[in-house]
């Protein structure tokens, strides 16, 4: 990083320091932007401002004791980090999760996916200058927060899952409330579409901007909506099925180049809108086929998994969210590694930033959905 700052540019360049506190860096994120007037030569990301050592902490905690820390990996996709960790430990232990718990996990995960995409889509529109859609989506997210609070007592860091199941069963009336929410929210997606998605200025700002081709997307390890926007049809839920997902019927939206080229910012935007619809569809199926029974398998209070290593991944709101876990037979993990979508998303920005304008950089960061705490861990 210091090299970049100290090197004398051969032509006149303006070096802008964007971040760590800049309104559109989504957390504490820093870019060193080399510009020629408004046009960027390159944008070099600088990471590490939110490093909390969450992987090292795992080595100091017992297996169940680490569960609350997974909430802090990413404040927007808490259920997925919970689930990735829980499934990894269950694989090590060889635990069978009861069917009711599996469906409940899918249910809360999809609810969380909707909440996460609401924030993402809202932030995209806000970074492009439209403030109102953001507020409207936050209003809807508040309903999800209320639902989650009724379910597990927390509005942001849910800590809902346990090794072998979930912590609590749904309260009375909760499923009815969820159904009412879905009835309410599905038209809201259409309203959002008519309010902003196909707004001419928004299309002009995002179509043909920062195109990521499929080779680049795979090469840089993009995952989730970013990868699918580039035309690569890959979804962990469908292709490496886990939990109750094999019973669910849903489509995986892939970037079509609707308003430009496949892999542009608009594809990354519209694919998330479509994913919210698909999540609603999965939620309705969960509501219809919620089995009766236990919500938690019998797991010892201090499990000692046998020696071995395991990789477990789930499809989070930002794509494949993986946990690599090594056990040495003691009650504490020997090593734990997180694989997150935001880090891959950030790493491609330097590659695609050349020739974009400063205003486009904001759109690129927002549509790649880079979340600083998930990236730094």
């Amino acid at each position: 990083m210091t090299e970049v700052l100290q090197s004398t540019p051969d032509r006149e360049e303006l070096i802008l320091n964007m971040g760590p506190h800049h309104p559109s860096t989504h957390g504490v994120l820093r870019f060193i932007v080399h510009t020629d007037g408004e046009i960027m030569r390159k944008a070099v990301p600088d990471v590490g401002y939110l490093h909390r050592g969450l992987e090292k902490i795992a080595e100091l905690q017992t297996y169940p004791g680490y569960m609350p820390f997974t909430d802090r990996i990413n404040y927007l996709e808490v259920m997925f980090t919970n689930m990735a960790y829980a499934t990894a430990v269950e694989k090590l232990l060889g635990t069978e999760v009861p069917p009711r718990a599996e469906v409940l996990r899918v249910l809360v995960c999809e609810l969380n996916r909707i909440a996460s995409h609401q924030i993402t889509l809202g932030c995209i529109t806000m970074d492009l200058g439209a403030f109102t859609p953001f507020v409207h989506l936050l209003r809807e997210r508040e309903r999800i927060n209320d639902l989650m609070e009724a379910l597990c007592g927390n509005r942001l860091t849910f800590n809902y899952m346990r090794i072998g199941g979930v912590s609590q069963d749904v309260p009375d009336e909760w499923l009815k409330q969820l159904e009412a929410f879905l009835d309410h929210f599905e038209p809201v997606i259409d309203e959002f579409d008519s309010l902003i998605s196909y707004n001419e200025i928004l299309i002009k700002r995002m179509g043909e901007v920062a195109v990521i081709c499929a080779e680049d997307a795979v090469g840089f390890g993009l995952v989730g909506p970013n990868l699918r926007a580039s035309g690569v049809d890959w979804d962990v839920r469908r292709d490496l099925p886990y939990g109750a997902y094999p019973q669910m019927d849903f489509q995986v939206p892939v970037g079509m180049g609707e308003k430009g080229t496949v892999g542009d910012c608009f594809d990354r935007f519209i694919i998330r809108v479509e994913e919210m619809r698909q999540s609603c569809k999965i939620l309705r199926q969960c509501l219809a086929n919620l089995p009766e029974g236990d919500i938690k398998a019998k797991v010892p209070k201090m499990p000692r998994p046998p020696k071995g290593e395991v990789y477990s991944c789930v499809e989070g709101a930002r794509g494949e969210l993986g946990v690599y876990l090594i056990s040495d037979g003691t009650p504490k993990p020997y090593r734990l590694k997180w694989r997150t979508g935001s880090f891959a998303g950030l790493s491609i920005i330097e590659h695609i930033s050349r020739g974009l304008m400063i205003a486009d950089l904001v759109a690129v960061i927002a549509t790649l959905d880079v979340i600083a705490p998930e990236m730094d861990r």
Binding site: L14, N17, E38, G129, V135, D146, A150, F181, I196, R205
Partner: protein, 430 residues
């Protein structure tokens, strides 16, 4: 001004030096009056913006200070006055301090020739329109100066963007205004209003299809000149932190802010004067209006109402649209607005040449354009209300933490979420 001064001087039987002093005092008094009026208008507009934004975003907006939050702007101003006036160490001090005054002076001085009523104008200059366009250009200087003097790269980018944008958009704005000047044959604001009439088909908006187009060109260009969304690039929050006013705090920041809001009212007032018949009352001739104080008051109300609708539309735009990019902004100006406004000017000249004023064809074109414009407006309004209704009809999800009436009800939340919340809320609600 001079008539008023002479009238008072004659009444007091003054002469010589005393007369001159009275004239000077009156000038200062009127200037202070104009300043206060502009300040109040821009203050109330900040409140209007926040209230309208609240409604658009389905929240309430400020409503605590005074009835309906009407005194909120005074509280805001008081807060900003009490803030520390910070000048960055590396800034160019004198320029940094001067810049906000240029913005304020540029906008507020323009209020001198805003015709609020037939007699309510501080100075009906014979070059009124040109004066307005010229004095508001001071804003460009102030903004560029602030961007440069802050010694901050984001500010500089904002300042440069602002200079490029305001100067570019002045071209279509002036060309669109010239269409009206051409038709009325005068540059005086009162003269232009007097050339129109009370009824919509007497307005220059509906004079012919090209003035109808010219209004939209002027409006677009004026929104861009006022740095408002979708053209708010100079202070694009998500890109340039806060643009040219990043380093400003306290009352100097408020200076930029007031200038921006006064500018909104100013552009609406100019549009009202040029295209909407200003203070003309339907069915009353200017001569009749001049004789009655009551009619004068009605004229003032009509002018303010028309200008307020313009302000509302500008605020509405801001909370609806995303922002353009710099290159798109320039291409909108030079590829569409400038050629179109030139076309309007030329077409109006040809219109004047071919169709004699007051002839049958002239009147038919007025009525036709007015009918067309009214139809467009009605369709637009119908669509707006259709959307509002369709949202209102939908199931309102108040089953969670809100009561049946849609208002937040802590008791319902306590019932749903159990005891510990109940305790907390029962303490608050008594």
């Amino acid at each position: 001004m001079e008539t008023l001064s002479n009238y008072i001087a004659d009444y007091l039987e003054l002469s010589g030096l005393a007369r001159e002093i009275l004239y000077a005092v009156l000038i200062v008094a009127v200037a202070a009056g104009v300043f206060m009026v502009a300040l109040t208008i821009s203050g109330l507009l900040t409140l209007a913006e926040r209230r309208v934004a609240g409604r658009i975003q389905s929240r309430v907006g400020p409503n605590r200070v005074g009835p309906l939050g009407l005194l909120q702007w005074l509280a805001d101003g008081l807060k900003l006055i009490m803030k520390e006036d910070l000048v960055p160490a590396a800034a160019d001090g004198p320029l940094f301090r001067l810049a906000p005054y240029l913005v304020i002076v540029g906008v507020f001085a323009a209020f001198v020739s805003v015709p609020f009523g037939q007699l309510l104008i501080a100075a009906d200059l014979n070059v009124g329109v040109i004066y307005l366009l010229a004095i508001t250009s001071l804003v460009t200087v102030g903004v560029l100066m602030s961007g440069w003097a802050s010694n901050n790269k984001w500010s500089l980018l904002g300042g440069i963007r602002a200079a490029a944008q305001i100067v570019s958009y002045e071209v279509p704005a002036v060309l669109a205004v010239l269409s009206v000047v051409l038709l009325s044959g005068t540059l005086s604001m009162q003269g232009i209003i007097a050339a129109q009439g009370g009824w919509p088909w007497h307005w220059y908006l509906f004079h012919n299809p090209f003035t109808f187009l010219a209004f939209f060109l002027y409006f677009t260009a004026a929104v861009a000149e006022g740095n408002r969304t979708p053209f708010d690039l100079p202070e694009a929050e998500s890109e340039l932190v806060s643009g040219y006013n990043t380093e400003y705090s306290g009352m100097r920041f408020a200076g930029f802010f007031l200038g921006e809001f006064a500018n909104i009212y100013l552009m609406s007032a100019i549009a009202t004067t040029l295209f909407f018949g200003g203070w003309q009352i339907p069915g009353v001739t200017p001569e009749q209006q001049a004789t009655s104080w009551g009619l004068q008051l009605v004229g003032l109300l009509i002018f303010v109402a028309k200008a307020s609708i313009g302000c509302f539309v500008v605020i509405w735009l801001r909370w609806t649209f995303p922002r353009l990019r710099v290159d798109q902004l320039m291409s909108v100006c030079y590829r569409y607005l400038v050629p179109l406004s030139l076309l309007c000017l030329a077409a109006n000249a040809v219109y004047m040449l071919l169709i004699p004023a007051g002839s049958m064809i002239d009147r038919i074109i007025h009525y036709g354009t007015a009918a067309f414009g009214g139809l467009v407006g009605l369709i637009f309004l119908w669509r707006v209300f259709h959307h509002i209704r369709s949202v209102g009809d939908r199931l309102d999800l108040n089953v969670l933490a809100r009561g049946q009436k849609g208002r937040f009800d802590p008791r319902i939340q306590a019932r749903r979420y159990g005891k510990f919340r109940k305790k907390r809320y029962s303490k608050e609600t008594g």
